[in-house]
């Protein structure tokens, strides 16, 4: 595969098909009414990236497309974007819809600030953060007009790369620790065009401090600058077991706390919610539900058991 980035492509003004067509026909006349001057679509030239100023254009990924471990993922209960409709995929679709509508500001609500940065966290380990984060990422990858960057922020026990069956390499923490390392080098592209993964990288003894630094904020701003359709999905260490998640909460617009049904206690939930105060928009996701009082069972409807 060749390196590809739309920003590197040569561009001739007025050369695009759309621009040439608009010369012949005023597409917008129906929308804006007759008699109004036509608006000619223009491509804004990207400004040059300056080191000390936030980049206005998000970096694009150019690494090779890695194929994921489909068998492993399916066996472990993950939902592939092009897989069949199952109960769990429907459930994640519902979650995904809510997250997306929150960041876009549907339903009469304002769009959330930094709503496209989503932190998946939980109180204790083993409650399903990685499972939910990967599934959400896979589910979002099926969306037609957004791209997802799944960031593994669980530096102590990174598991996203191995879960997806991607080659391990330098990651988030390496970028934070080494300013000279461009983040584009680390991002792994997958066979699903809109899904990219940023591995955790090699953990340091000062993960939390690196996360809390201004560089992190700058880096994250860079990642989403000018591209509101890019969603950063963070998988994090347990809130009550490590501190990075609490710091990350300050960088994200939405926090999704995974609660394990029949297992997470009220005390743990309250404690964890207190640590998430830095994030204004905290939502809960109940994982591992074994009991359904309303009889909500997806999947059967589509002919395949969940």
């Amino acid at each position: 595969m060749t390196k590809y980035s739309p920003i590197d492509m040569p561009r001739q003004p007025g050369d695009s098909l759309l621009e040439r067509a608009s010369d012949l026909y005023d597409f917008g006349s129906v929308l804006r009414g007759t008699g109004m001057p036509p608006i000619v679509p223009q491509v804004v030239e990207p400004t040059a990236v300056v080191d000390d100023a936030p980049a206005s254009i998000a970096p694009q990924w150019y690494g090779p497309m890695h194929s994921v471990d489909r068998e492993g993922l399916e066996a472990a209960g993950f939902v592939l974007p092009d897989g069949p409709v199952s109960g769990i995929s429907e459930e994640f679709r519902i979650v995904k819809r809510q997250l997306l509508s929150a960041l876009r500001g549907d339903n009469g609500e304002d769009a959330l600030a930094l709503g496209n940065r989503i932190l998946v966290c939980s109180a204790h380990p083993g409650e399903g953060k990685t499972f939910c984060a990967v599934n959400l990422a896979l589910s979002m990858a099926a969306e037609k007009d957004i791209e997802v960057l799944l960031v593994d922020a669980d530096f102590a026990k990174p598991s996203i790369v191995s879960t997806l069956g991607l080659p391990d390499g330098p990651g988030f923490m390496d970028v934070l620790a080494d300013p000279s390392l461009p983040i584009e080098e680390c991002v792994l592209r997958t066979e699903f065009a809109s899904l990219a993964v940023l591995p955790a990288g090699n953990g340091t003894n000062n993960d939390t401090e690196y996360l809390a630094s201004a560089r992190t904020r700058q880096l994250l701003d860079t990642l989403t600058a000018g591209n509101p359709n890019r969603i950063l999905l963070f998988d994090s260490p347990p809130l009550l077991a490590a501190s990075p998640a609490a710091v990350l909460a300050g960088h994200v617009g939405q926090a999704l706390m995974v609660v394990r049904a029949d297992s997470t206690t009220e005390n743990a939930l309250r404690d964890a919610a207190n640590l998430l105060k830095a994030c204004a928009h905290v939502q809960l996701l109940l994982n591992g539900v074994k009991f359904s009082a309303s009889g909500r069972r997806f999947g059967n409807y589509y002919g395949k058991a969940a």
């Binding site: 769990i88 519902i94 049904a261 029949d262 939930l269 996701l285 539900v289 074994k290 009082a293």
Partner: protein, 502 residues
Amino acid sequence: MSGLYDEILIALHGVWNRRWLALAVAWGICMVGWLVVSLIPNSYESKAKVYVQTQSILPEQIGISTGDQQQNVNRVRQTLASAENLEKVVRGTDLAQSVSNDRDLAGKVAMLRANIKVVSTQDNLFEITGSSSDTSISDGANARIAAQIAQKLIDIFEEENVAGDRDETRQSLSFLDSQVAQRGKQLQAADQRRVEFEQKYMGLLPGTGSISARMDAARTEINAIDSQLVAAQSALSAMNAQLAGTPASISGGASGGTSALGSVMGEIAAAKARGWTENHPDIVALRRQAAALKGQGGASAATGTPNPTYTSLKSMQAERAATVQALQVRKGQIQADLNAMTDRQVSEPGVASEQERLNREYEALKTQYDKLLADREEVRLRGDVQSETGAVKFRVIEPPSVPSKPAAPNRPLLLLAVLIVGIFGGLGTAFALGQVQTTYPTAARLEKAAGLPVIGAITETLTAAQHVVRKQRLKLFLAGSGGLAGVCLLLVAVEFVQRGMA
């Protein structure tokens, strides 16, 4: 209602999630419970029925009512558990083997008190139950001891009823005897005092009664003697006159002198009878004639025969004189006594009342003495009736048997109860823990409790390996649950086998 139904389902779901805890708790409770049940000593119980028949014909005739007898039986029943009786039981049964000092004995008595039961099911039917649960001896020995206790209690019951009556009779008799003896002595003393008094004060006046009565009697007698005396004196003087008029001898027919003198004397007497005095000239003449005749025929006078009339009159006169004499003497004597008495009465006025007091005392004592004597005889009769006719009869309807199986504890039932308690204890613990340790089975609950929006609920997904593990765990859980029931059944079976062997 659907809300309640959901709540119940959720609670059950919570219990199911903690099934391992529930199982562990159930096992723990059951193990401890079964241990405790197995340590409860076997208690053997021996039951006997005694029928007490109270006779009513003869005893009632002499004043022993059936009610009295019933009361007696009840008294014995109530006092059957007295320390004294229980000591008898201990000494009379195998319990005595393990008694070495008074403390042991007291301990056994206390144990017995809790282990015996006397119930009167009907008026006359008594159920005596003895039980034994000594851990230090074998089950068989316990059973034997229970039977012995019941038997001994029956013995004591019977014995007390009969001996109690006899004792009572004996006690009453001895009391009455002593009272009778005492009263007898008192009576004797009173009698003695009375006699002494009479000797002292009333020896002079014969008769009975008080002093005044006797004095009255004496006075009456004196009056009577007086009149008798007058009569006797007049009779004596009449006799004297008659005697004077009767010649001492009658002149014989052969001697004229005597007959002449006799005729002269006859003439004199006739003249005197006519009322002539000695100075009458006829009489004087006749006297001279008589004197002459006497001088003439003195010798012939001597030969005259004594007059029999004169002789008899003479004796009669003597008799009358003696009577007068006797009456006079008697009157003087009585008069003297009376005078002496009167003198005493004047000098000692309390004598009369003293005598009355002594008499009263004597009379009172005598009355009581007589009554006591009668009572004693009655009691003796009663006692004889009770003991010899068997006023209360005992019939052992159901003799105490040696029980073959323990009366308590009902081990199979207890084992099952422990199992049930264990199961419910486990379930309860799981449920309580679910209530204390809040977790969230459903999104609705989570949202309600946390106050944060819940945007989704992900059904648990299991990999094939997890499925296998879960199945294995389920099997393990079922095995654990089944094992619990199995152990319970095993213990029940062991219990029955033991009983069969015992």
